[in-house]
């Protein structure tokens, strides 16, 4: 009984919908880690290709997205390995000024400040970005399209109306629904402590 229900819900790959469903999510994941849009784009593309290549190895144990993220993770690591292996790049240099009056306490100055939360901010923001992206992907298609164009790509109301063939009041209704849905979703996934 149990085994059949597992087989029923076995995950399957559907490469034709990968770009629409996961490209933005993967792209955000990559941008947060390599902080360069061009490189991130290439990594996402490579991830899709690698996914196609090893699609036959997909067991169906994880969801499609988890599986793709796992591949992307490897791609990010590979990327850093590659740039680090270039000669001289792997060298760690501490630029310390040669001013003699500060010669004594260089070690103390380089130690991480235990009370600083600045470096957490970046990690937190990357995670927040993923949480938002996940919530956006759960929205109905039309709502997410309008929300993404308006909020993330920052297009003007007029441009969006022209592109989607809707009128402004229509657009604001869509934005409203998207925003209320997102608030609910983020309430669950982000503020839940």
């Amino acid at each position: 009984m149990v085994s059949t229900s597992i087989n029923m819900t076995k995950n399957q790959l559907n490469p034709t919908s990968w770009v629409d469903q996961y490209a933005d999510y993967l792209f955000n994941y990559a941008v947060a880690r390599v902080s360069d849009a061009e490189i991130a784009k290439d990594l996402v593309q490579e991830t899709f290709l690698a996914g196609l290549k090893s699609a036959k190895n997909f067991q169906g144990a994880a969801t499609e997205r988890t599986w793709l993220i796992a591949i992307l993770k490897r791609k990010v690591i590979d990327y850093y390995r590659k740039i680090n292996s270039k000669k001289g790049k792997a060298e760690v240099r501490i630029n310390y000024s040669s001013q003699s009056d500060s010669a004594g306490d260089w070690l103390e100055e380089n130690v991480a400040d235990p009370f600083s939360t600045l470096e957490n901010d970046q990690i937190e923001n990357a995670e927040l970005g993923q949480a938002i992206q996940e919530c956006i992907s759960k929205l109905p298609k039309k709502q997410s399209a309008v929300f993404v164009m308006k909020t993330i790509r920052g297009l003007s109301t007029e441009d969006i109306c022209n592109e989607l063939g809707i009128n402004p009041s229509n657009l604001w209704v869509m934005v409203h629904r998207a925003r209320t849905n997102l608030m609910g979703c983020l309430n669950e996934n982000w503020f839940k402590l």
């Binding site: 490469p15 955000n28 784009k41 923001n125 992206q133 983020l186």
Partner: protein, 75 residues
């Protein structure tokens, strides 16, 4: 006087800096006596701040199309 529906629309417009000065005054007045809208407005503002903070990125449609073509060629 404006109703709640109008107030929420203005509030949404405000998140994208598209509400006129008059609309903002109307909204401010409405929020004085409408608790529901005041709560919504607060949450809405928070969502805007979160979205700004997350520094979201998206691929453009052309880039996605290009990816689709590449995937098709390789599958």
């Amino acid at each position: 006087m404006i109703n709640c529906e109008k107030a929420s629309t203005i509030c949404n417009k405000k998140q994208y800096k598209e509400a006129t000065f008059l609309e903002q005054i109307q909204l401010g007045f409405h929020l004085l006596y409408c608790k529901t809208c005041a709560a919504f407005s607060k949450k809405n503002k928070k969502l805007t701040i979160l979205c700004d903070k997350a520094n979201l990125h998206n691929l453009s449609e052309q880039e996605k199309e290009k990816m689709k073509v590449t995937i098709e060629h390789n599958s």
